[in-house]
Symmetry: C2
Subunit: 326 residues, 2 copies
Amino acid sequence: MRGKILGLLKKHSGNAVSGQEMAQYLGVSRIAVWKQIQSLKKLGYQIQSRRKSGYILGTAPDLLLPEEIKHGLKTRKLGTKIYYLPVIDSTNDYAKKLAQAGAPEGTLVIAEKQTRGRGRLGHEWFSPTGQNIYMSLVLRPNLHPAQAVRITLLTGVAAALAVKNYCGIDLGLKWPNDLLVAGKDHKKAGGILTELGAESDRINYVVLGLGLNVNMRVSSLPGEVRKKAASLMESMKPIAKINRVELLQAILLQLEIQYQLFLSGGWDKIIENYRRLDTLKGRRVNVKQGNEMVSGQVAGMDNEGRLLVRSGAKTQSVIAGEVHIV
Amino acid sequence: MRGKILGLLKKHSGNAVSGQEMAQYLGVSRIAVWKQIQSLKKLGYQIQSRRKSGYILGTAPDLLLPEEIKHGLKTRKLGTKIYYLPVIDSTNDYAKKLAQAGAPEGTLVIAEKQTRGRGRLGHEWFSPTGQNIYMSLVLRPNLHPAQAVRITLLTGVAAALAVKNYCGIDLGLKWPNDLLVAGKDHKKAGGILTELGAESDRINYVVLGLGLNVNMRVSSLPGEVRKKAASLMESMKPIAKINRVELLQAILLQLEIQYQLFLSGGWDKIIENYRRLDTLKGRRVNVKQGNEMVSGQVAGMDNEGRLLVRSGAKTQSVIAGEVHIV
């Protein structure tokens, strides 16, 4: 209901809408409308009340509210159900619980702040409040667990395309799951954490987590993290604050496009795009794969999405691991 | 404490142990000993109390109690922590919750009865009370999710070896997860359900479920299931009730052996054993792999554990699926 009232106010943006008319249109009492208006004001919406003409919507709060995300969202599945959390330990952990309880494909978890944000391999993901995007999606692809890594790779492609389209910023990808701001220092602007629940030969659910530094000032980060981090706002020329709701909508749409492409046999096109965005090719790396260390020069990626590392005449394909650039 | 008292009684089997001595030995009061004796009696242990000489242990109840399983268990890791549940919806679901809460490798869940026992692909696993084995183990191998299916395969090998050793019954394996009683009709005596929680490129936990029809009368099953089911007891010649505790101990030991063999690079030996136990080779099958149907004659298994299905000049390797014998 709150979403519907917000929708009506947005439709008449700049003009007053009478409480009476909204009440009739929605089939509720004027008091009910008034209550929802108060609730919107509490969230930070500026709404003027004029005794004769009704309510006029002013500025919206800088929050990733479901009502805002859904307004104008062009996806068919992703984000049709949204859980919005001002603060949560980890959106992935929350989404996993939802997935285990049967949440359908496309369920989206959004938080303004994470108190225990995680990256791959248990690394911390610094998640200050109200400036960035911390999201997790529940997916239910009919796939073998071996293919889950492709979800990570296609998400990188989707996020880079969406950021390019919406902000004009070139992102690069660092295999398998990092989003870098292109340029000579390649600082990290985002990361992907794909988790799954599965039987040994089929996926039950995937929780796809994406953390993206949007409007954060990197100088606000603690020392160690600061050196390696970037934000999209600070990568804009000139520096400019980004509308997080619209960026999120663009990401969800690109994700849906790439995900459908993958499921309908278009993996080759995705990996082609990944190669174009890849920042590791030609770099000398050490890759920790389990207890083994693979060292050499990155020759590229094979069609399965494995990293090819060449050392002398020998090329090794790495299925998983942590890449350190030498 | 209860386990320790039971241990003392077992050590002196047939002879009385005085409550006074046990209390001293364990550093507790005689009342405390008496309370534990009452608790053991409640579980079904027959214990005689003799005024002068003390307590004499009679027969044990036919239950998979942790005290019984641990007594004489030869494993180093598997089953060192046991959760015993007279009734549970599903031992795998219970073990998954434990795994998510951080339960260590080797944690064992045992139930006398499951109300919603599951097999692969959501199939029901009929789980009547007190006659069979329903167990789930938490494992934490440092593996890629693609390798989880090997846990299923090695469990089949371990269960078949343990049943052969302990009961003298030849089991056959039906790829990937069924345990059959060898013979011309190949009825199902057990099944394996391997589930995992993972990041896209590394396993966080595996829950390894095994259901085994031990002392059940197949005639007690509902019609449809009855036709395809077998129990170990009814496969003994002559028919004989099996000591579930000792069989379970044998299975845990074999599982630990095969699991350690796998982790230390001995996969080839495991797959060799699987091939020896395989019942599908040469059979004409239809395999449903996702939305695809693969038909032909089974040529065997490759070294990765994939089923090879030959049709004319073409051989397809099947990574996952449901096999129907034509």
